[in-house]
């Protein structure tokens, strides 16, 4: 993939007999949102922690802009761990200043950034509260600010939407799109595939520590040799099994979803359905991300 910023090459990590990462290879590009997907225990968190040197790889490399990641390089990264890692009894602003300054930036620059983000995320009035006095959603926002406070070139977020209500999800989504549009490489894991499908240009699907699918989401969907047809109709349903080249995925009252080869003649298909029913709506689409995911993980 050209223009890669973050690059995993053959990353391997074992814990005893368990392979947390198995020759894991993928890239994340600047200015784009990359969704990092996989079942529980697939190796997503291990891969993310490897970026920050929290786990040491047994083999393979993780590089940033073609070079090994050193502590100095990490000053340009932001990280939001899955198990939130802020100090619960510390005050919000004090904590963000402390973490921001650890990256060797001036207090005034960090303070300006902290105050901007607190205002942007509606937390200015909570700046002097202890973290544990905040709601889960607000704590999540503070955690996000901790990752953003030093204007990172790479933002790695482990399950950032976990436990958020729909409004908070929408706000965080909007923010991530904005951050990526400013040129930041954003890699985040999530189990909310519909959300990832809406947000991400690129996806990486990992299973048992091995990347099973990676690349531009539209390209991946287009490359699949089958499509899905959704039909709304009234009248008697046709004998779906008699339609050549189509396989019934699901059917209920007045609706059917068919899997067809991408070479299927849609006019013939419509004609076959209209022998017994009247078509009210018809759509022809590549597979959704959920279908890609299930297919990739089941393979």
């Amino acid at each position: 993939m050209s223009g890669a910023a973050l690059e995993f090459a053959g990353a391997t990590k074992r814990y005893g007999s368990v392979a947390a990462l198995d020759t894991c290879t993928f890239t994340a590009r600047p200015g784009r949102l990359t969704g990092f997907l996989g079942p529980n225990g697939a190796g997503k968190t291990t891969a993310m922690r490897a970026v920050f040197g929290l786990v040491e790889l047994d083999a393979g490399t993780v590089a940033w802009q073609g070079r090994p990641i050193t502590p100095a390089v990490r000053t340009r990264f932001g990280y939001m761990p899955e198990e939130r890692g802020l100090y619960p009894r510390m005050r919000v602003r004090e904590q963000l200043l402390y973490l921001g300054e650890l990256a060797n930036r001036s207090r005034s620059a960090v303070a300006a950034s902290v105050d901007t983000w607190l205002e942007r995320l509606g937390l200015t009035t909570r700046a002097t509260d202890r973290l544990d006095a905040l709601s889960h959603g607000n704590q999540q926002r503070v955690q996000l600010i901790a990752a953003l406070v030093n204007d990172p070139e790479l933002l790695v977020l482990d399950e950032p939407f976990s436990g958020l209500d729909p409004i908070a999800i929408a706000n965080m989504s909007e923010l991530l799109v904005e951050v990526a549009a400013a040129g930041t490489t954003v890699l985040f894991s999530s189990h909310q595939l519909d959300l990832v499908e809406d947000l991400c240009e690129d996806v990486v699907i990992i299973d048992h520590g091995h990347v099973v699918l990676a690349g531009d989401l539209e390209g991946l969907r287009a490359a699949v040799p089958h499509r899905f047809v959704d039909v709304d109709y009234h009248g008697a349903p046709p004998d779906w099994t008699s339609i050549v080249g189509a396989e019934l995925v699901e059917a209920d009252n007045g609706h059917a979803r068919l899997q067809v080869a991408h070479t299927v003649d849609l006019a013939d298909l419509t004609t076959a359905i209209e022998r017994t029913a009247t078509v009210e709506a018809f759509s022809y689409q590549p597979p959704t991300l959920s279908e890609l995911f299930r297919h990739a993980v089941a393979a």
């Binding site: 200043l97 650890l102 901790a146």
Partner: protein, 268 residues
């Protein structure tokens, strides 16, 4: 200007240090309040302890002598043989275990490390915070002895008391460094507390019984408690050799902690 992990750690424990110091001051006040009743019958108390079984007496006095006739002797037996080391060790081992393993247990270590602070620096700065805490407790102990002793008319030997709390502080820092080392090597809080506590108990017994059990005598010199009061600092002052041995042990433990912490995965 990069902020200090040490200052942050010290800031975090400021309230607990005040409570610990106040508790120590109260404990010392209790001992000083009892002194007038002991002063007149010091020889009787000394004889009472001298008549105890040798092993019991050794454990009671941590292998030291028994002298209830002077404030120095009284404080040596009542305060510095047992209670003061326990207080300092509980604090130091708890703080050492919390420094790295505790941060891992609370899942706060990730953000500390990813914000570019090197692992070696985290260990060293956490150790500095531990030393600061022990220094505060030791100072509080010495000040309490001097001030409360003066108020109560007890003639506390200030220089020798200072030497004793220095040795006591070094004892605490040694075991705190051991807890930090185990935490840095394993990331396990329970082990970081339990192993130093067990070693403290074992080396206390070795030091105490080493005065009366022949084969323990050579081993006794390796006990941190021997470095602490083997030369009776309440009567002889600071022992440079013991200080050097304690500091060397601390430096080796911290160096080992840095080495181990750099070579393992964190939070797994």
């Amino acid at each position: 200007m990069r902020p200090s992990v040490t200052l942050e750690a010290a800031h975090t424990q400021r309230r607990s240090l005040v409570v610990w110091s106040a508790a120590l001051a109260a404990l010392i006040a209790l001992y000083i309040a009892v002194w007038p009743s002991v002063e007149g019958s010091g020889s009787s108390f000394s004889k009472l302890i001298d008549d105890m079984p040798a092993a019991y007496k050794a454990l009671f006095t941590n292998g030291g002598g028994v002298d209830f006739s002077t404030p120095a002797g009284y404080l040596n037996v009542e305060l510095f043989s047992f209670m003061a080391p326990i207080v300092v060790l509980v604090y130091a081992i708890g703080t050492g275990a919390s420094a790295i393993a505790g941060e891992e247990d609370r899942r706060t270590i990730d953000l500390l490390l990813v914000n570019t602070v090197s692992r070696g620096r985290v260990v060293i700065e956490k150790m500095a915070a531990l030393i600061f805490g022990v220094a505060v407790l030791s100072s509080a102990m010495w000040l309490s002895l001097v001030i409360e002793g003066r108020v109560a008319g007890m003639d506390v030997p200030t220089a020798d008391a200072a030497a004793t709390v220095v040795h006591l502080g070094l004892l605490g820092i040694e075991f705190g460094a051991l807890a930090l080392f185990i935490g840095a090597a394993t990331g396990r809080v329970g082990m970081s507390r339990a192993v130093p506590a067990a070693i403290a108990a074992g080396t206390y017994v070795i030091n105490a019984l080493g005065t009366m059990v022949g084969w323990l005598e050579p081993i006794r010199r390796f006990s941190p408690f021997f470095q602490y009061n083997g030369h009776d600092p309440m009567h002889t002052g600071l022992a440079p050799t013991a200080v050097a041995v304690s500091i060397t042990s601390i430096v080796l433990l911290v160096a080992g902690a840095v080495w181990m912490f750099r070579r393992r995965d964190v939070g797994t």
